[in-house]
Amino acid sequence: MKISQHMTAPAITITSTTSIPQARQLLQERHFRHLPVVDQTGLLLGMVTDRDLRSAYPSSLLEPAEDQLRREQLERTPVVDIMSPATFTLAAAATLDDALLLLDREGVGALPVVDEEGRVVGIFSIRDLISAYRQLFGLGEWGSAMLALQDDGQPRPLSRLCAALEQADIHFHRLLRATGPHGEKIIYLRVNTYNLPAVRKSLAAAGFSAFHDQ
């Protein structure tokens, strides 16, 4: 669940003197959207995004002479003039939950990951979050099927469920208890078997039935 296992590292960084066209070229070549700006020792100074860079370029409606002039000015403009302060960062010891909460709350696309001194050690984007959760949920792992079960409201549902599965020698690798949109308690179970009728039979004997409304 640690960010350090899922981040992109080392991150491609630029320094404050990198020009705007250089930064833009780097993003285009590498298909990134976020670049941390660091000083000579790797300490984080700020972030530049593809949106910042696009806004820095002149409007396509300008007269050609004016457009040329503005582009020449940009050649001499360092990214430090347009970068955003790095208000939000993740520590390398942060978890996927930290990242999800921060990305969601701040509405940003990526967060720099820094060590205790504030040096950039990686970058964690929404794309990294998606692949991390894909892996956690076992998506794409073959040979399994997911069941949605009704939580019967009796005590210790997950313990009872696990005991029933173990007794029937049914292998499973994901178990999740969630609340549905109408407050209903649902248990999602990913089992590693094709023989689902046998699984349902064991679960029914332990008091669990299928949750409908999938």
């Binding site: 998506l139 073959w142 040979g143 099927a145 020698d169 078997t193 094709y194 009728p197 046998a198 999938q214």
Partner: protein, 333 residues
């Protein structure tokens, strides 16, 4: 006076062998049992269709046909597991017995025997009763009761032995045929189309609508997942709106069906709700597609279907549909 001779309708070839019953899955609650084929045989023997069906034996698949799809080391592992008396291979789902390797060879050779007969013009189409099923079997792994990928072996054989280049595989088993997709996903000339229960809810968790094949095979994989509870209406709509345009665009030279019957509402192995009549419609459509694109080259290989009485009725309905050309009014059902 000249007599007017009615053309004799060609038979529908049925491939079957008593040795399929030798594959023992250990009893208990294993759903893949000899009772499945017993029920189909009984149903067909007493069916009004019986006179139009012609039985033929399969042959064991040759090594070269198998190694076109499976690795040598896997074939060795499978044979050893059976002969050594192991209870299962790769996962407890895949139960086997001493005779399972030989039976699996016969299952994989069913398509080969049928293809040779069809290419000789011996029938209007063929249906192979067989077990163990095949579409989950991977190049080097057994999965979901499957050991050898019968459909994939047949598709490759049709290409290599009879020079039919463009093969259309349509898989309507309730579960996605991961093994078939994996075998051909980079190939443009073998089109894999599957209608199955959505992979979020269904074994083996593959068959996403977003998969379209890769490399040269991009566009020759088409997954049509259905949410649990889907029935005849959803399938009919897909046939007309998606499957038929895909066939028209691909122009197959042979049509190979991974014919699973576990999408039936009485079959507990899936959450789909097909009726028995849907299989009649599938038979009619398959016959019409073959007549249009590849006359005489229509082969269905049995995959799933785990409630024997329902399976037997569904197979009979499929065959009846194939033997009855659709009436003009059926076309836009």
């Amino acid at each position: 006076m000249q007599s007017i001779r009615q053309p004799v309708p060609q038979p529908l070839l049925i491939i079957d062998h008593p040795d399929f019953d030798l594959h023992d899955t250990g009893g208990g609650e294993h759903p893949e049992t000899p009772a499945r084929l017993t029920a189909i045989r009984r149903q067909l023997a007493n069916s009004p269709l019986a006179g139009r069906l012609q039985s033929h034996p399969p042959r064991p698949a040759e090594r070269t046909s198998l190694t076109a799809i499976h690795s040598e080391s896997y074939l060795l592992r499978l044979e050893e597991a059976a002969l050594a008396g192991r209870a299962f291979l790769d996962h407890p789902d895949n139960q086997l017995c001493y005779d399972s390797y030989q039976t699996a060879l016969l299952a994989a050779g069913s398509g080969l025997a049928a293809i040779d007969l069809l290419e000789e013009g011996a029938g209007q189409g063929a249906f192979a009763l067989l077990r163990p099923p095949g579409h989950h079997a991977e190049r080097a792994m057994s999965l979901g009761f499957c050991f050898l990928n019968n459909v994939a072996v047949a598709a490759r054989y049709w290409q290599s032995r009879h020079r039919r280049r463009k093969i259309m595989i349509i898989d309507w088993d309730a579960h996605h045929g991961n093994g078939i997709q994996a075998a051909f996903e980079e190939e443009p000339d073998i089109f894999y189309l599957s209608i199955h229960e959505h992979p979020t809810w269904s074994f083996p968790g593959t068959g996403w609508a977003a998969d379209h094949g890769s490399g040269a095979g991009h566009g020759a994989t088409l997954n049509l997942p259905l949410p649990p509870g889907s029935g005849d209406h959803e399938v009919r709509r897909l046939l007309t709106e998606v499957v038929e345009p895909a066939l028209a665009a691909f122009q197959p030279e042979a049509l190979l069906l991974a014919a699973g019957f576990d999408g039936h509402r009485d079959d507990e192995m899936s959450g789909l709700s097909y009726s028995t009549e849907l299989y009649h419609l599938l038979g009619q459509r398959a016959a019409a597609w073959a007549a249009r694109y590849c006359p005489g080259r229509l082969l269905a290989l049995l995959e799933g279907g785990y409630h024997p009485p329902t399976l037997a009725l569904s197979v009979e309905n499929y065959l009846a549909g194939q033997l009855e050309p659709p009436r003009a009014t059926d076309h836009n059902q």
